[in-house]
């Protein structure tokens, strides 16, 4: 049992408390979900448990941390290693060795376990995580999900009683994320390990959580049953939002709960859905429709009519060495529409974006933006045709203040930044901005060249719900200005909210493309929670609420 007693943390050069008088008890064998908006101190709380705060972060830590009644607040992380296992946000950055097997054994070697024990535990862990066939592989050649599982495995081999995970699924595709979460629940259920996990995308973890610790942002923590905490939490998964809107109590936490509730309560309001033929089928979805749905479809098609294709790419083939990364990919980006690019880790999403932008050399195929091929242009002209926001937006920034960045970026940068996210102070260091603000700054640097095509590579990584709403709003403004937008993302809920069309890549080929409703209807892995509850065709809570209201 770990107890935090009146823990207060003040970061260096600041008088605000990130954590203030936090009391928290972590029981044996429970899954505690740490939730809260970006910057509310989730990582700090986990760092206090692992011993990394204040040792690696600086700042002042007060209060006490008790392990079974003994204070361990002054114990360095290395001495906590056998008891508390910690996996950071980026598993790759924490890898010490270079093959799976050695990485799993590393922690045990440091603890000085007997060779026979080490061998046995490595085998057990390989099986537990289902990665036995990867044992000899080099860590860098693994996919994101595999790397995350190896990182979890590498702390499990020392048999810690507590495992602390900082956003274990934020970089993963939906399927890989589910694998990792299945692993985590297995730890809790089968091994009795206590797991503390911080996560932005609550919809994935809430069904498994025993308790939630909610950090509101003022340094205080509310701990309790998921259903109670989510009642008032500022950040909630779509299911809970739905439950709140429709006045369900207790709130549904799993899709199953919600489905049962939906059957009983809202049936009368959704006549169209149960009898698909009445109101005419929605575009290529097997589910039904309502008048509201038809209305939305119509408004969408109105937007389509005004559209012209801004970027068109035919039969793109890109190879690395002799391995094809993209194979015969054709894609069209219409003006005024947001296209989402989905697919598992390593399916070629980033490569496609860089190829469309022109930096990545292609073996065959053509890209056409306003009659020009970006690949043949110099970087300055290319910028005015295609804008690309890379995966690590921080790579774009190199100056000390926001004002300097804006000056270097071009005359309109500050203006664009203010229209995206108003009120960022001029003298702030770009590194000190929140994820969402930094993203907006990088995006405005790109938009200052006023390109008709904007590509974004996983912009939702590390954003909380509010920031994602804001981003969706920004994308909508861009399309209203007639730009064509392509967003690579793993976040199905974000796609449901922000995208008009979806393209799914697998193994470097387009496996499915079309309207967001039809694609999410075809692939359950990409279906948002709302369509899991109400059937294909429904994407977000707002639609349901409207439909219920009309019914």
């Amino acid at each position: 049992m770990i107890e935090l007693r009146r823990v207060t943390f003040t970061p260096p050069d600041s008088s605000e408390h990130v954590l203030k008088d936090v009391d928290l008890t972590i029981e044996e064998g429970e899954l505690l979900l740490v939730s809260g908006p970006t910057g509310s101190g989730k990582s700090t709380l986990l760092g206090v448990l692992a011993g990394l705060v204040p040792r690696f972060s600086g700042g002042a830590l007060e209060g006490d941390l008790l392990l079974d009644g003994t204070s361990i607040i002054r114990t360095p992380p290395r001495e906590r290693a056998g008891i508390i296992g910690y996996v950071g946000q980026d598993p790759v950055a924490g890898f010490v060795t270079d093959t799976v097997e050695e990485e799993l054994a590393y922690g045990m070697e440091q603890l000085g376990l007997a060779p026979a024990t080490m061998r046995r535990r490595v085998e057990e862990t390989l099986d537990l995580l289902g990665i036995a066939d990867l044992r000899q592989r080099s860590l860098r050649t693994l996919s994101g999900g595999q790397q995350q599982r190896v990182a979890i495995g590498s702390v499990l081999t020392t048999h810690p009683r507590f495992v602390v995970l900082d956003e274990p699924t934020s970089a993963l595709d939906p399927t890989a994320a589910e694998d990792v979460l299945a692993t985590i629940t297995r730890l809790v259920h089968d091994l009795g390990t206590s797991v503390v996990v911080a996560e932005h995308r609550l919809e994935r973890v809430v069904p498994f959580a025993d308790r939630i610790a909610l950090l509101v942002g003022d340094g205080s923590v509310a701990v309790g049953d998921p259903a109670d905490i989510l009642e008032t939490s500022p950040i909630v998964p779509p299911l809970v939002e739905l439950g709140r809107e429709l006045g369900w109590s207790p709130l549904p936490l799993t899709v199953r709960d919600a489905r049962r509730r939906a059957r009983g309560v809202a049936l009368a309001d959704r006549v169209g859905l149960t009898e698909p033929d009445q109101a005419g089928p929605p575009p290529s979805s097997s589910g039904g429709s309502t008048s509201a749905f038809v209305g939305r479809a119509a408004s969408a098609s109105e937007r389509v009519e005004t559209n012209t294709v801004t970027l068109s790419a035919r039969s793109l083939t890109v190879t690395r060495g002799r391995t094809p990364i993209l194979h015969d990919v054709s894609i069209e980006l219409p003006a005024g529409r947001v296209t989402a690019l989905m697919g598992r880790n390593g399916s070629g999403k980033s490569t496609l974006l860089w190829t469309l932008q022109g930096t990545q050399k292609r073996l065959a195929g053509s890209v056409d933006v306003a009659g020009k091929d970006p690949a043949t242009l110099d970087p300055d002209t290319r910028r005015t045709l295609v804008g690309l926001l890379p995966q690590t937006a921080a790579d774009l920034l190199y100056l000390e203040t926001v004002a300097e960045e804006c000056d270097a970026g071009g005359p309109r940068t500050r203006e664009i930044l203010d229209s995206l996210v108003p009120g960022i102070p001029d003298d702030q260091h770009p590194r000190d901005l929140s994820e969402g603000q930094r993203l907006a700054l990088a995006l405005s640097l790109i938009l200052s060249a006023d390109p008709p095509v904007v590509l974004l590579d996983e912009p939702t990584r590390g954003l909380d719900y509010a920031a994602k709403h804001a981003l969706a709003e920004i994308l909508r403004e861009l399309t209203a200005a007639g730009k064509a937008v392509l967003v690579a993302t793993h976040d199905v809920e974000f796609v449901a909210e922000a995208a008009d069309d979806v393209v799914v890549l697998a193994d470097g080929e387009v496996v499915s493309a079309g309207d967001v409703r039809s694609v999410t209807a075809e692939s359950p892995a990409f279906a948002p929670q709302v369509s899991k509850v109400f059937g294909p065709g429904w994407l977000h809570v707002r639609e349901i609420v409207e439909a219920v209201g009309e019914g």
Partner: protein, 366 residues
């Protein structure tokens, strides 16, 4: 009998065995300038490498070392041409470039003699052969596994090297990424400013990565102390330093030949003694263990001994058959049966060493 066969099953030979073998061959090369023997030695090394290397990245590095060796030979010969001044059969009568009087004893160009060329060639070949031996060890033994077999006292050094080896490709990748990203925006174009534009994100990235790695290592128990007194740690470090100096001086004295024998013997004994003491002391405080350590079995012994034998043969030839070991440049170099046999012992690993595991994995059905 079956134990003998088991040890020959496909597996990676202990890296130390390969290094002992390679050092033995390199020692032989250092004892002679006979081009025939050196060529034979390079041949033996190449055969062993071809027969027993795996298909991991480091196995492909052998070619690089061969290239480096050729470059060394070429440079050595070139310098002989430039700074000629060996009397003998003139091949090309190059004009001498007059130098001022104060550079006494140095001549630029001048008549190029066959003797000058050959002397440069022999010398370069000796150095080249040594480089190829080192390259062979690198190609045959996983450098990281070699670090894992280091004595515990050197563990920290080993970890630092492993981290450095993994960080380099990451840095290269980060450089590439930032360069591509900076092209996506407009910004400073001046020379100095552009450098800054590029360096700042790369350095920030590198710093963040190293912090993450340090945190990762710390949370996984790296550097657990288990309460060792400072005095013990200091004594260990002193002993290790003394042993290093002793071994270096001793090895130099043995190879040099002009230093008195007693010096070589004392320094070697002193070095070895200090090393043993230091390692023992360090070993006592070690709380960590090694996962699946490489095991030392009879093929390792045979491979290592073959290297030692080759080295010993070289030493013996350099002492007892001077005309064979150091042939003059005016006569055709000769060889003796012992000298040839001495080199050919180096072929033993082709038979004795097991096939590397990585090769067999490729061939096995999936």
């Amino acid at each position: 009998m079956s134990a003998l066969l088991v040890a020959r099953l496909p597996r990676d030979l202990h890296p130390v065995a390969w290094w002992v073998w390679a050092i033995g061959l390199a020692a032989y090369a250092s004892f002679t300038t006979n081009p025939l023997l050196l060529l034979l030695l390079v041949g033996v090394v190449s055969v062993v490498v071809a027969a027993r290397r795996g298909d991991q990245p480091w196995a492909r590095s052998f070619r690089l070392y061969v290239g480096l060796a050729l470059f060394i030979v070429a440079t050595r010969v070139l310098f002989r041409v430039l700074l000629g001044a060996v009397p003998g059969h003139v091949l090309i009568d190059l004009p001498e470039i007059p130098l001022p009087d104060w550079v006494l004893g140095i001549r630029l160009l001048g008549p190029l003699t066959r003797e000058a060329l050959l002397a440069g060639l022999y010398d370069g070949m000796r150095l080249g052969a040594i480089v190829i031996c080192v390259g062979a060890a690198n190609a045959l033994a996983n450098p990281k596994r070699l670090l894992r077999s280091l004595p515990p006292a050197l563990y920290e050094v080993g970890t630092a090297v492993v981290v450095a080896v993994t960080v380099l490709p990451q840095l290269a990748e980060s450089v590439q990424r930032v360069r591509a990203a900076q092209r996506l925006r407009s910004g400073a174009t001046g020379k100095v400013r552009r450098l800054r534009r590029f360096l700042v994100p790369v350095l920030e990235d590198a710093l963040e990565r190293s912090m993450a790695l340090a945190a990762g290592m710390d949370t996984r128990g790296y550097g657990r102390t288990a309460g060792i007194p400072v005095v013990t740690r200091r004594i260990t470090s002193t002993l290790m330093l003394v042993s290093l100096v002793g071994l270096c001086v001793g090895v130099y004295a043995v190879l040099d030949g002009t230093t008195p024998g007693w010096l070589a013997a004392t320094m070697l004994v002193l070095g070895a003694g200090a090393a043993a003491g230091g390692l023992r002391l360090a070993g006592r405080r070690v709380t960590r263990t090694v996962y699946r350590p490489d095991r030392w079995r009879w093929p390792e012994v045979v491979v290592a001994l073959s290297g030692v034998a080759v080295g010993a043969a070289g030493w013996w030839i350099a002492r007892d058959q001077v005309p064979i070991a150091y042939p003059g440049v005016s006569t055709v170099p000769g060889v003796t049966l012992t000298a040839l046999a001495g080199v050919l012992i180096g072929l033993v690993p082709v038979v004795a060493a097991p096939v590397p595991a990585s090769i067999v994995q490729e061939e096995a059905p999936a």
